[in-house]
Amino acid sequence: MRVQAQIDVSAPQELVWEMITDPSRYLHFMAGLTRWEVVSKNPKGLGARYRTLMRVGSAEVGGLVEVVEWDEPGDLAWTSVTGLDQRGRWRLRARPHGRTHVEFRLSYGVAGSGLLGWVAERLAAPTVRGHLKRSLQQLKRQVEHDQLRALAVERRAKSRVA
């Protein structure tokens, strides 16, 4: 089952990339996420591994995931090593006037789970989609807020010099 959500952020692509590649910030903006823990030596980049859990229904589902695509500052993809079969992708594209189009995709399922597995995936989809949408809204809010703060600091520094 694949679900996705998208949003436009009023901030440059690099700022959004910085946010989505920082594992310490995931619990701040990802809705439904109860764990995003670094379990590899390198906290980010190709091959980085995280233990993830997301609350869906009566369980926290997830498992160990590994970053398998790192194309700065556009694409970041991960796939599951253990736990639920999943593949996630952040896709960032620059838009005019310093804006960024953000797409968040998540495919999930359990191989061999049969018809009831198929039903479960579909029944879980609204919850997962809701988590993705809220995550993007929170991401947008945080990135734009960070940008405004950075601009304010810059303005204050300039006025002090003047």
Partner: protein
């Protein structure tokens, strides 16, 4: 479904259970002699059949791939039907052996176990060994063989010790058949019937004890009586280790005596709270008093169950 027993005899029968437990099943135990007549022979015959169906204790029957493939089904049942909610899984130590001690509800079909199994396996992954002790009768029931693949093993001290020595998480229900069939007006009461074998097990194996408190399971039927007198009169305690013959109002039977054929559970909301681990020797000293620990664990679990009950606005709906 599950129970916890500590037998004292050292002899072990061919299927891995201590001889005294096996004797009880065959009716060869004390008090079983001289029970003549057609009824006695019939009951002994059934007991023999049941014993022959009890699977050989083998922890290797747990099948992580099977569990993984069946988690979505369990998720459907737990999330949609029972609206299950499991809190505090982070209290369970991330690695190493641990004894999970639960209050037991729901009659022979215990939804709490299913909801907790799903939550445990989803949280820690199917790779982490997790076993549940179950009454022999449950494991010998036709159609329930799949439980062994989920890690359900016959309740015996050997199986419990082996699981913990293998570094597994082990779930036991000390209240067993006594607690699981308590009448509905006692639904919010933790009642282990003074069974303390789980404490001795945790001390012997030196593993942390984690209480797991569940509410809602006892609202899946209208449980009326444990039927202890009935069980005694029919000698079920000696033949099947059954000290109860529960009487309930359950779907689709109406009046349900024994619950041997199972029932359709009402869709009661199940909420489970996992409490912080207790290191028995750290908290109670090098040579702890089992009675003191028992009172402590029961008090902790009862307080949690009271809090969960206070949250609950309506029976069944939660």
């Amino acid at each position: 479904m599950a129970t916890e027993e500590t037998a004292s005899a050292a002899a072990v029968s061919s299927n891995g259970h201590r001889k005294d437990a096996a004797d009880e099943l065959t009716g060869d135990g004390p008090g079983a002699q001289g029970n003549g007549g057609l009824a006695g022979r019939l009951v002994r015959g059934i007991a023999g059949q049941v014993q022959s169906r009890i699977p050989v204790a083998d922890l290797d029957e747990r099948d992580p791939d099977y569990i993984r493939e069946n988690l979505p089904r369990l998720w459907l049942l737990a999330s949609i039907y029972f609206r299950g909610e499991v809190r505090g899984l982070g209290n369970i130590p991330e690695t190493g052996p641990v004894l999970l001690v639960g209050n037991h509800s729901g009659g022979n079909l215990t939804p709490d176990t299913g909801v907790f199994s799903l939550a445990f396996h989803a949280y820690f992954g199917v790779e982490r060994a997790f076993y549940q002790l179950a009454h022999n009768l449950v494991l010998s029931m036709p159609g329930l063989a799949f439980l062994r693949k989920f890690g359900t093993v016959a309740a015996s001290p050997e199986n419990a010790e082996t699981a913990l020595r293998d570094g597994a998480a082990l779930l036991v229900y000390p209240g067993g058949d006594y607690e699981v069939h308590r009448p509905i007006w006692e639904r919010n009461r933790v009642d282990f019937n003074r069974r303390k074998g789980f404490i001795r097990l945790a001390l012997e194996e030196d593993v942390p004890l984690v209480p797991v408190v569940a509410i809602g399971g006892q609202e899946t039927s209208i449980f009326l009586s444990r039927g202890e007198t009935l069980a005694r009169v029919l000698r079920l305690d000696r033949l099947f280790r059954l000290k109860v013959l529960p009487v309930s109002l359950a779907l689709p039977w109406g009046l349900n005596v024994g619950d041997f054929l199972g029932h359709i559970p009402l869709p009661a909301k199940i909420t489970i709270e996992v409490l912080p681990p207790i290191d028995l020797r750290e908290e109670f000293g090098a040579d702890p008093d089992v009675d003191e620990i028992y009172e402590h664990v029961i008090r902790l679990m009862q307080e949690t169950l009271d809090a969960l009950a206070a949250e609950r606005q309506l029976p069944i709906l939660g």
